[in-house]
């Protein structure tokens, strides 16, 4: 074996050990320290409580099933909103399984919301990238207002006001898409 190679490799081992302490322990610990002090809630995942119980994270979606009509529904999820299994469907753009799934979702939503298929926005019938998407489009939320109001014996305008409260526009006015936080919206409904 080449002598220089062995010597260099040994130096490499020593530097790796030092760097593991600096980059693998000190660095994440320092970020943790600053994060916990400056952004305590965010660094810990924005856990939301209701009636003294932790009920979710404000930015992790939950499974409000289509067969439970009293809730606003989130997007289809390839992970079934399992917090430990984030994943997209990875179905290709012309995969017959995907085309079939989209058609079935459209028909189900058309039936439950009493709307025409052409009125259903894309986010309602497609699975997200994370499987934990906490948001839906304002269009999809609007579609669900009448049904939720009916199920909960509320006026449609009251529900529409709640949707408005839980809608955020583009960040800083131009970044990203407008969105409705489904868990927060359902929590405010539950508080009524």
């Amino acid at each position: 074996m080449n002598k220089d190679f062995i010597r260099q490799t040994f130096v490499g081992l020593k530097i790796l050990l030092v760097m593991t302490v600096v980059l693998g322990i000190a660095y994440p610990a320092a970020v943790w320290g600053v994060g916990q002090v400056a952004f305590h809630d965010k660094a810990n995942g924005q856990i939301v409580s209701q009636d003294g119980k932790d009920v979710g994270s404000a930015i992790i979606g939950q499974n409000f099933k289509v067969k439970d009509p009293e809730w606003f529904h989130g997007r289809p999820s390839a992970a079934e909103y399992d917090g430990l299994a984030s994943a997209p469907s990875n179905l290709g753009p012309s995969n017959p399984d995907l085309l079939k799934a989209i058609k079935e979702r459209q028909q189900e939503i058309a039936r439950t919301e009493g709307v025409d298929v052409s009125e259903i926005p894309a986010d309602a019938v497609t699975a997200s990238a994370s499987g934990l998407d906490p948001y839906i489009s304002p269009e999809y939320a609007a579609l669900q207002v009448d049904r939720v109001a009916r199920e909960r014996n509320l006026s449609a305008s009251a529900v529409r006001a709640l949707v408005r409260d839980n809608t955020s526009g583009r960040q800083l006015g131009f970044l990203g898409e407008p969105k409705v936080n489904v868990l927060r919206l359902n929590l405010t409904l539950e508080r009524l």
């Binding site: 490799t9 530097i15 970020v31 932790d54 009920v55 979710g56 753009p93 012309s94």
Partner: protein, 552 residues
């Protein structure tokens, strides 16, 4: 405001930010690698590891240092991954099986970050922060060091030495990556990226429980982008709300992905004493990445696929808040830089969108490429360009005052051929196995594209995937590990040999016969050569995969 205006404003803001930091960051990096003064803490470190920081290495010794360091890195990371149950914060998870451990350790040491596992279901926090994130820094610093050694090959005259690898490694880590990653991590936390050490079970109001995953995600996320690594803390990578919580964090992550590869062209220009040279290289890179952004955005925003037309938008595998614009941009930047982080499912992209990000990797990761790897990759292509131009006009090719002779061209040719050869041999071997059709996540041409994408991504050290394919069989774990290893170190060996041979030469004076290489004309020629090489190599594979799908 409509989507188009918002999309163009986001792109414009990103370009403006990069333009604003281009000169200061590029010049800072040039100073880092040329100054003779050491920080006090660095001096203590050099004493501890027994290195004289003022000594220099030959190309051979520099290469041996890179290889030796990477070897111990692979072994150490492997031991951490398979033995993680012995470490603290293991979340009660077992060690990785050996094939997965080997694949993952090679993946992170080669700056690829290909992942055959889901982070939140497979790894404890010690393995992530103390194993993977450490290599996110160090593999990036190795790439920058090799690039700087090649630049020194052009700068130096009649010298046998290329600098000191250990000094380059330490400075790249402590003076460039660590401070920026730290600030980046805090900014990401301000948007909602998490940094804690515990999972949290909650009781859903609709019934049942949900585990809200914890972990030191923000500290890993910032270096994952800055070092063009790409390995997600969570399985969904930068689509996960805890890694990439808002459109602003998404913009920030795209900025981190691009800032070092782009600014290194300035570092090149400053170090060789011709800033215009840096700009002409940047021009070629910008043209290629700009075309890819335009094509992918057109396909995704315009919903040019069967599924997208049916659904009324290409939103399968995309997050609501990112939409088609931010997903398209992120996909192009992550594949153009060998990062491989994803904020959307590339597998579900439209045929033209998915095909474009695939071609982006096939270009050899030079638009603008990974940290360090992009600039040494495009300099090799620049040598090929002056050689071809020289043949056309019958003159000895030169680049930056160095003659390109037989020896240099041999290294360039071997560099250019090695990665495509690894890709095509890998695809061939996989397709020859009858069991491969079973692991594809999609039928037909798209399933074939998944295999093409996997080997292209591995050998070019990108790490993103058409994720529908199942790659946990022994064959894929080991063949992709081999592709990553060879795709990283064979080119590095040729680059450093090339650097050594250039450094030994004297400078030749510029004459009327010298092809100027700092002009837009040269940038255009360079783009042409890159597209030609890629087209000739990969057209058959593209015709069977994405092209067939786009036309059907």
């Amino acid at each position: 405001m409509n989507d188009t205006v918002s999309g163009l404003l986001m792109l414009g803001l990103l370009v403006a930010l990069l333009a604003a930091v281009y000169a200061p960051v590029g010049d800072y990096m040039a100073r880092v690698f040329t100054t003779s003064s050491h920080w006090r803490i660095e001096k203590r470190l050099y004493r501890l590891i027994g290195v004289n920081p003022d000594s220099e290495q030959t190309a051979r010794s520099y290469t041996l240092s890179v290889l030796g360091f990477s070897l111990v890195s692979i072994i150490a990371l492997y031991l951490i991954l398979v033995g993680q149950s012995l470490l603290p914060f293991d979340r009660g998870l077992p060690g990785m099986p050996w094939e997965m451990g080997l694949n993952t350790s090679i993946s992170f040491v080669t700056n690829t970050n290909w992942q055959s596992y889901g982070g939140e279901s497979t790894l404890g926090f010690a393995a992530q922060a103390g194993g993977l994130a450490v290599q996110n820094f160090l593999s990036a610093a190795v790439g920058i060091a090799v690039a700087v050694a090649l630049i020194r090959g052009f700068v130096r005259s009649r010298s046998g030495e290329l600098g000191n690898f250990w000094v380059d490694l330490v400075r790249g880590t402590l003076r460039i990556l660590l401070p920026v990653a730290f600030v980046g991590a805090i900014l990401l936390i301000s948007q909602g990226a998490i940094q804690n050490f515990g999972d949290h079970t909650v009781h859903a109001i609709s019934g049942g429980t949900q585990v809200i995953p914890g972990g030191p995600a923000a500290s890993q996320e910032s270096i994952k982008e800055l070092g063009t690594n790409g390995g997600g803390f969570f399985n969904a990578n930068s689509a996960h709300p805890f890694e990439n919580p808002t459109p602003f964090s998404n913009l920030l992550e795209m900025f981190f992905i691009l800032v070092i590869p782009i600014s290194l062209t300035r570092t090149l220009g400053t170090m060789v004493g011709s800033r215009k040279q840096g700009l002409s290289i940047l021009g070629a890179m910008t043209f290629l990445i700009g075309a890819a952004v335009a094509l992918t955005t057109w396909a995704e925003v315009g919903a040019h696929s069967q599924a997208a037309r049916l659904a009324g938008g290409a939103m399968e595998g995309k997050e609501t808040q990112f939409g088609t614009w931010l997903s398209s941009m992120f996909a192009v930047f992550t594949t153009g830089t060998s990062t491989g982080a994803v904020n959307a499912s590339h597998d579900s992209f439209t045929p033209v969108g998915g095909g474009t990000v695939l071609v982006n990797m096939m270009l050899g990761e030079v638009s603008p490429g990974g940290v360090g790897a992009g600039i040494y990759g495009i300099l090799v292509m620049a040598i090929l360009t002056v050689f071809i131009a020289g043949l056309m006009v019958g003159r000895t090719p030169e680049l930056l005052g160095k003659k390109i002779g037989r020896k240099e061209m041999t290294y360039v040719a071997l560099y250019t051929l090695s990665v495509p050869a690894i890709v095509l041999v890998g695809i061939g071997a996989a397709i020859a196995r009858s069991s491969t059709t079973d692991v594809m996540g999609n039928p037909g041409g798209h399933g074939f594209s998944e295999v093409v994408y996997a080997f292209t991504s591995a050998a070019n050290n990108n790490g993103s995937a058409f994720g529908g394919i199942t790659v946990t069989s022994d064959f894929f774990q080991l063949s992709l590990a081999a592709a990553m290893l060879l795709g990283r170190f064979i080119p590095i060996i040729f680059v450093l040999a090339l650097a050594g041979s250039l450094a030994k030469q004297g400078k030749v004076p510029v004459t009327a016969g010298t092809l100027p290489t700092h002009t837009p004309l040269f940038a255009g020629l360079l783009v042409g050569v890159i597209l030609l090489i890629t087209g000739l190599t990969f057209f058959p594979a593209l015709a069977l995969g994405p092209l067939a799908e786009a036309l059907s």
